[in-house]
């Protein structure tokens, strides 16, 4: 509710709105940017440029359904562009796709309660094998609460591809995580 209000105040040129938006979103933008590059300065510069640019273009901004999604998409584009430029400069080669990297783990308490050592180990392996894109989809979905349409826009892939990415990762996780006693009761009745 107040996000929409801040956004319209920003469009009207209220600098307090710019600051409020910055303070609300900067932590997440820094964290998200940091998943593409360990270069803290580069990530900080991207956040700075993003907000300066937002201020300069305030009159041309349109309404957005989610301010956070808008900022995350903008942040991703900036970071990826900067990294691509640097790669080109340093290696004189066409940049490859930028890699998203974050450590996804299983909550220790849940692991201790629900899983054997062997299951936990299997899960860890499975999580390590997730592709960068799967990791990013899960990160945006569960850490930042974005919906699939916005994630698709951020990652520049179709809605269906995002769903497939996340669905396959979660199905695998469920398979490994859910223990035998979670199976539906009719399985047991089947013996009689």
């Amino acid at each position: 509710m107040s996000e929409a209000l801040l956004w319209s105040q920003l469009r009207e040129g209220r600098k307090t709105a710019l600051e409020a938006l910055y303070r609300a979103h900067a932590p997440v933008l820094l964290q998200y940017g940091g998943k593409f590059s360990a270069d803290r300065q580069l990530v900080e510069d991207c956040v700075q440029d993003l907000f300066v640019d937002l201020w300069q273009r305030r009159a041309q901004l349109s309404e957005v359904s989610s301010v956070q999604s808008y900022l995350l998409v903008a942040m991703r584009r900036r970071v990826v562009r900067q990294l691509g430029r640097r790669q080109k400069r340093e290696t004189a080669e066409e940049p490859e796709e930028q890699q998203f990297d974050c450590e996804i783990a299983i909550d220790e308490q849940i692991a201790a309660r629900e899983l054997s050592k062997e299951q936990h180990l299997k899960l860890k392996e499975a999580l390590q094998q997730l592709s960068p894109r799967q990791k990013e989809a899960i990160y945006l979905k569960y850490q930042l609460g974005m919906d699939y349409e916005d994630i698709g826009q951020a990652m520049d892939i179709s809605y269906q591809s995002v769903r497939n990415l996340a669905h396959s990762a979660l199905s695998r996780l469920r398979e490994l995580l859910i223990r035998g006693w979670w199976l539906p009761p009719w399985i047991f009745f089947g013996f009689f």
């Binding site: 710019l18 600051e19 910055y22 900067a26 700075q48 783990a105 979905k141 569960y142």
Partner: protein, 337 residues
């Protein structure tokens, strides 16, 4: 509740935005819906439990935000964007314009509890976690802060313009007969003007934005004009000036404090976020200077607690605040490690 969920299995539920918000944050307004739905469809219990497990099982390691880093980058943005906040506001921005935005935004979420009692008393309540906007019978407007209420005799208007306020409200009064706001602490009387009255935690704080306002506690009267504030000090009025060209900060969803006791800061957070804050008496009288926005509870807790060297842990809608390093609360979620 949408019955599309009947066809969802655990993996699909675990990807549903409304489900995640409930499972992760335990947001109260979703909880009631989900619990009612589960009561109607007990066969979905297993899928829901599995999905909750999935949502909770994934932990992403995150470097905590560093306030110095955040402040440093803002310094650069601030310098690069030049104009100060005051200059950047268009000069012609009329009070009703931002009121309009606030009202439009409020209406979107508004479950204003307005009802008329058989005896003709009209009651408007803004529950915790929500603000409310209301047009009085004479066309005057009132914006209620969260956890506030007004009541008035509807059939007496507009001959007698009188209402009773508990909590905090901003009024825009049409010209006409004297307009009287009664509060537990005292009363405010005006002809046509806009003003803010805050009576939370026993205070009596009146700010006049346009026109003239008369405030009364027992025999003590003060007249305020635009930009003047009167604060009841228990035995007399304390007068101050304030910047009346900006709306009361609470309306834009930003809460600012200058040397305010934590008791009052936490009370406001309880009203804004519809939570309960459990903190030892020993810290409640310490004073806080800073601000938070009402759109993100975790960020607000952080911005109040971090500079005070306090730790907050959240369990559903109960937040436990302790001095940093005090014995940790067992099993509190949402605290990272």
């Amino acid at each position: 509740m949408n019955d599309k969920y009947l066809t969802y299995n655990a993996v699909e539920l675990a990807q549903d935005a409304a489900f995640i918000r409930w499972a992760k944050a335990g947001e109260a307004r979703y909880a009631a819906q989900w619990e009612a739905w589960l009561a109607r469809h007990p066969e979905k219990w297993q899928a829901v439990e599995e999905a909750r497990l999935l949502v909770h099982a994934l932990v992403i390691k995150e470097e905590p935000a560093n306030p110095e880093r955040i402040a440093r980058i803002w310094g650069k943005i601030d310098a690069a964007t030049g104009e100060s906040a005051a200059q950047a506001s268009p000069p012609g921005l009329k009070a009703w314009r931002w009121l309009g935005y606030a009202a439009a935004a409020a209406l979107a979420l508004l479950l204003a509890f307005f009802f008329l009692r058989p005896d003709g008393t009209a009651v408007l309540e803004a529950p915790y976690g929500q603000m409310a906007e209301h047009r009085l019978p004479d066309g005057s407007r009132v914006q209620l802060n969260a956890g506030s209420s007004i009541r008035y005799q509807e059939n007496a208007w507009p001959g007698t313009r009188k209402l009773r306020l508990e909590g905090e409200a901003f009024f825009e009064v049409e010209k006409g007969k004297p307009f009287i706001v009664e509060t537990p602490q005292g009363s405010v009387e005006v002809l046509g003007t806009s003003f803010n009255v805050n009576t939370f935690e026993g205070r009596f704080d009146v700010r006049c934005y346009t026109g003239r306002v008369q405030v009364t506690v027992d025999e003590n009267q003060e007249i305020l004009t635009a930009g003047q504030q009167a604060l009841w000090a228990g035995n007399g009025w304390q007068r101050n000036n304030f910047e009346a060209s900006a709306p009361p900060a609470w309306q834009s969803g930003r809460f600012e404090y200058h040397g305010t006791p934590l008791r009052e800061v936490f009370a406001e957070m309880e009203r804004q976020f519809d939570i309960r804050i459990d903190a030892p008496d020993s810290i409640l009288s310490r004073t806080y200077t800073g601000a938070y926005e009402r759109n993100a509870l975790d960020s607000a807790l952080y911005r109040v607690c971090w500079p005070m060297n306090l730790e907050a842990s959240r369990q559903g809608d109960v937040v436990v605040v302790r001095a940093a390093g005090a014995s940790p609360q067992p099993g509190s979620p949402g605290e990272g490690e």
